[in-house]
């Protein structure tokens, strides 16, 4: 039976606990069990007091001890506080001390629904900036299973940038490559949900486009799968739920441009704080914004 992303996370977590692993975080056992991503049990679950910074330090300590903690941050806004032990301790441990600190950091992005300036947030780019962590944004059940298998097989600390919009989804995305495409849309995080609508709208205007789905942000592999459609279409856009400036979208666009010489635009959150009011929201680029960016690029030649 098809499962949602949330159910997939919950089942992987339950199995991990059965294998002796632990989950660490704040308010995990409270209402909703983190959007149904945590198994409703007390076994293997470490409830933290309200201790950001300290909390991720505790997770890093458990990781050094081989417990492979899943460290849950209910909102990515908490990443600013929790980042330091992750990037300064866990990410450096293997290189500096010779033993790994494989923490599986789950950070949940969200937007809209009045989430406002604090909780409209997606900050995976922060962790791409620093060496030592692998950064990914799985949006489908199979992708989640694959990155989990990767984590278990290796010993790197992971920053897993989740998005609430994926939790109830059962969709498995596939790249869409069309003959005669005029543009390639690279999509990251919740941008992947909007890009499908954008492509539909573009096709209605008679503009053919490719869609390439990106799960791994770091390392970002500049391979034939991502390059061939860009070379064929001659231009591209990287769409991400995070801020554009110095963010994943600009960094990936740069890699793609360098590898192909084709122009690639970055489209992410606007450079302003998101508001609670509808007209002040600032989340993942909408289908309209993506369409606008694509048509203006094509018009400009």
């Amino acid at each position: 039976m098809a499962r949602t992303v949330a159910e997939t996370i919950r089942d992987l977590t339950r199995g991990h606990i059965d294998d002796g692993g632990i989950v660490i975080g704040q308010c995990l056992t409270a209402v909703g069990w983190v959007q149904n991503t945590i198994p409703p049990q007390t076994k293997g679950i470490v409830e933290l007091p309200m201790t950001d910074i300290c909390g991720s330090g505790i997770a890093v300590g458990a990781a050094i001890m081989g417990k492979r903690p899943i460290f849950v941050m209910r909102f990515q806004s908490f990443l600013w506080l929790n980042a330091s032990p992750l990037v300064n301790y866990a990410a450096k441990s293997k290189e500096m001390f010779g033993y790994p600190a494989p923490v599986f950091a789950r950070a949940i992005a969200s937007e809209s629904d009045g989430s406002g300036p604090l909780h409209t947030n997606c900050f995976h780019s922060l962790f791409m900036h620093m060496p030592g962590m692998r950064v990914c944004a799985p949006m489908t059940p199979k992708e989640y299973e694959a990155i989990w298998a990767d984590y278990v097989a290796g010993d790197d600390p992971f920053m897993v940038s989740e998005h609430r919009r994926s939790y109830k989804s059962e969709i498995e995305f596939e790249d869409q490559i069309e003959d005669g495409a005029e543009i390639t849309l690279y999509a990251v995080s919740a941008g992947r949900f909007n890009v499908e609508d954008a492509a539909e709208a573009l096709r209605e205007q008679g503009i053919r486009c490719n869609i390439v789905h990106l799960v791994w942000l770091k390392p970002f592999e500049v391979d034939a799968r991502v390059l061939a459609p860009l070379k064929a279409s001659g231009r591209g856009i990287v769409i991400d739920s995070a801020y554009e400036i110095a963010g994943a979208s600009q960094s990936i666009a740069y890699d793609l441009m360098l590898a192909t010489g084709c122009p690639v635009k970055a489209v992410g959150q606007f450079d302003r704080s998101p508001g609670v009011a509808k007209h002040l929201e600032n989340g993942t680029p909408t289908a309209e914004r993506i369409v606008e960016a694509a048509t203006s690029m094509i018009k400009d030649g």
Binding site: V46, C54, I58, S84, F97
Partner: protein, 333 residues
């Protein structure tokens, strides 16, 4: 400085008296070499144990004085955080806690050596060699010897304290000792880690090496509260004592029966916060006081023998490692 034949390290000469650090500006009576002392502890300890404890103090002192010389000679040019003056606390804690997991912060050569971390790997680290305890990546702050259960430090003050709580949470009941400074004690995450350890009843001994300084700022200019009160407020036992090694050993044994617990140890930093310099005389010289106590126990000859052996060991080690470096690293690196 020191050589293999000297009976003891030469007294430290102030290098730069223009910026003397404040010595107990609050006139706090707890800053004294006798604070909390219990008579008779030295005599109660087995003589060989007393000498072993002194040997660990001597190793730190000779080693760190050798590092000081290496910096002055231009052989070590990374930041160095020396524990000269603060030898007693880690040496005493290690007497009953070796084998536990250990975490310290930047001023940590004393902790590393007392807990049996390899001296050669530490020298190599300071010399930037790939055989250093962090492969030459870390320099002075990040002690690290996983075989001895000494977990590395990243240089951010107090970062090791929540990590120690995580280690204690998952150590299967094995004890954990976490050293930190009076400055680190003010970090929010250090306090949160203490609260977590208390709430979870973790097997974690917190040891605050309280030299009354954060860089050059004395405690009185930073806070009004006492760490022992805070620890007690969290529900864990706590004591505040001077750095007499027999006293520290006594409380380590006692407190480790009922963890988590905190020991705040009043101690004196003799050298600069970072670097090889020395501004003025410390409030007391625990190393010399310890030797006096041992002499009073008719152990002066043994003390001299330990110092001679330690001095020779450290000198030989550094000579050999410097030689090694000149062989593997091109001149000028």
């Amino acid at each position: 400085m020191t050589d293999a034949n000297s009976a003891g390290p030469a007294p430290l000469e102030p290098l730069d008296a223009s910026t003397p650090y404040p010595v107990n500006p609050a006139n706090d009576p707890r800053r004294s070499p006798d604070f909390g002392v219990i008579d008779g502890l030295a005599e109660e300890m087995d003589r060989d144990d007393s000498l072993e404890m002194f040997r660990r103090m001597a190793l730190t002192r000779y080693f760190d004085l050798r590092v000081q010389k290496a910096q002055l000679d231009g052989d070590v040019d990374c930041f160095i955080y020396l524990a000269v003056g603060q030898e007693a606390t880690p040496a005493a804690v290690s007497m009953s806690m070796r084998g536990s997991w250990v975490l310290g912060q930047h001023r940590c050569h004393s902790i590393y050596l007392s807990f049996d971390g390899g001296p050669m790997a530490l020298a190599d680290e300071l010399l930037g060699l790939p055989t250093g305890c962090c492969g030459g990546l870390g320099g002075s702050p990040p002690i690290n010897d996983i075989d001895k259960r000494i977990i590395g430090h990243n240089g951010l003050v107090g970062d090791q304290v929540p990590v120690a709580a995580g280690v204690a949470l998952t150590s299967g009941g094995d004890k954990v000792v976490c050293f930190f400074g009076d400055g680190a004690a003010e970090e929010d995450y250090v306090l949160a880690a203490m609260g977590f350890a208390a709430s979870r009843d973790l097997p974690l001994l917190f040891v605050c090496e309280d030299n009354d300084l954060s860089v050059l700022t004395p405690t009185v200019e930073r806070r009004t509260w006492s760490l022992t009160n805070v620890a007690e407020g969290f529900g864990m036992p706590a004591v505040d004592i001077t750095d007499d090694p027999w006293l520290v050993d006594h409380w380590t044994r006692k407190m480790s029966e009922n963890l988590p617990a905190l020991i705040n140890v009043r101690t004196c930093r003799e050298l600069w916060h970072v670097g090889a310099g020395c501004d003025n005389n410390a409030e007391w010289n625990r190393y010399e006081l310890t030797k006096e106590t041992l002499a009073g126990m008719q152990l002066a000859a043994e003390v001299e023998k330990i110092e001679t052996e330690t001095s020779k060991f450290v000198e030989d080690l550094w000579r050999e490692r410097l030689q090694k470096r000149s062989e593997i690293l091109p001149a000028g690196t």
